[in-house]
């Protein structure tokens, strides 16, 4: 267990399972999670998806802050914690109580990595997220920076201000800033792997190879799960 008063220091137990994927942009984690959901549904398990930054009420405030560029490292951190908290209370915990398999694309580790890169104290952000449920298993999709950048930037995306870390004033140019920002986030993720025992997935492998490995991990947690009556209609 982790330091008193921080994330992971309390443990709850629910009938459901919580699996989460983490990694920098371009690590392929969302693709893997979508494939996982397809498989679990086809096997008859009740599956609930929870995405980062998706609480209906809070999302509006977040995008307002982003558009106006008025978010500071502190309010950026707090508004994402607000969003996450709403989803924990109203989506994740009730689903776990009901025995569902909850799949989360990004979890507290995204905040631990991004907010700390923005200068928020590590101890504070870990305490902020103390209310979060510990996942059954957390997967980190490890990918070299150049590979992830090639995947993202070759699609010529319109990078947004905060997405590119422009608020940190690392570089004047969007894609230059994005590269530096992602490399710092990558460093933070690598620190989180041993701290929270994240399961490392080799995200340079072919999609099917990764998916096979992921399903093997998940299967080991499902022996006592109810299934069959929930097949997708």
């Amino acid at each position: 267990m982790n330091e008193a008063g921080t994330y992971g220091s309390q443990s709850q137990s629910y009938p459901g399972r919580l699996f989460i994927v983490e990694g920098i942009d371009g690590s392929g984690k969302s693709t893997q999670l979508t494939l996982l959901a397809q498989w679990l549904r086809s096997e008859g398990f009740p599956v609930v998806f929870s995405e980062w930054n998706s609480s209906p009420i809070v999302k509006k405030t977040t995008s307002r802050g982003k558009k106006g560029r008025v978010l500071t490292p502190l309010t950026f951190s707090l508004i994402h914690a607000t969003d996450f908290s709403d989803r924990v209370e109203r989506e994740i915990i009730p689903s776990l109580k009901a025995g569902a398999i909850v799949l989360a694309d990004r979890y507290v580790y995204t905040a631990f990595a991004r907010d700390v890169v923005r200068g928020v104290p590590p101890r504070w952000v870990r305490s902020l997220y103390r209310f979060a449920v510990m996942p059954t298993q957390a997967f980190y999709f490890r990918v070299p920076l150049e590979v992830a950048l090639r995947r993202i930037l070759s699609a010529r995306p319109k990078l947004k201000h905060y997405e590119a870390g422009m608020d940190l004033a690392l570089a004047g140019d969007l894609s230059e800033s994005y590269k530096l920002f992602q490399s710092r986030i990558l460093d933070e993720y690598e620190r989180l792997v041993p701290e929270y025992g994240l399961t490392v997935m080799d995200a340079t492998k072919p999609v099917e190879t990764q998916q096979r490995a992921l399903r093997r991990h998940i299967k080991s947690h499902l022996s006592e799960m109810r299934r069959g009556r929930y097949a997708e209609v």
Binding site: G5, K60, P73, S85
Partner: protein, 240 residues
Amino acid sequence: MPKFDSLGTGIPGVSPEELSGWLIVIEGTDGVGRSTQINRLRAHLERLGYAVAETGLSRSDLASKGIRRAKQGNTLGSNAFNLFYATDFADRLEHQIIPALRSGFVMLTDRYVYSLIARAIVRGADPDWIKQVYSFSLKPDAVLYLRLEVPELAQRALATGGFDYWESGMDLPMGEDIYDSFMNYQSRVIEELDKLAREYGFQTIDASRDIDSNAEDLARRVEAVLAASGRDPVLNPFER
């Protein structure tokens, strides 16, 4: 010497040494007369030549709209509400309070983190956790806590348009009807504020006296805080 030491972790990118103003907090439950007193205090301080600014809960550009929306539908989780208020507070701290203090203003704040901590605890938040969340906030130069007993608060609520849904804790609720809930909820809030008053050294003021006596009391206390800084007020050339 730093004017403020933060309650804990501080704010990324802000050093307390550059803040030359004063942070004066007026705390107390709904109906104790905070806004009347703040108006009087502001006029008094401006007469002495101090530049005065004001802020209060859920008045941020960033989150006040979202909070209002969430309150209307009651569609936000209880803990998420606590954090939404924290977001609102952080936005005001960074965009209103800190700039005013940098410019040497007297910042009068209509409630501060203490009310937010109290309302969170009454709604089941862990006291250590919510205090840790707010550990980035600045330590005020003075916290003036206007205090009234619950029966008198109820009388004042009746006289000024009745019981407010949220100020009666009806989201919980804490009684069979809004009156019962108001009484129970406000008692719990006062209980928590009293604890915070001891922990953070508030100046507790009996608000049951008339408006003029309270205003005089507050003015005297704030003048003492300002005088302790060694910076003199602007003298009125018509006196002496």
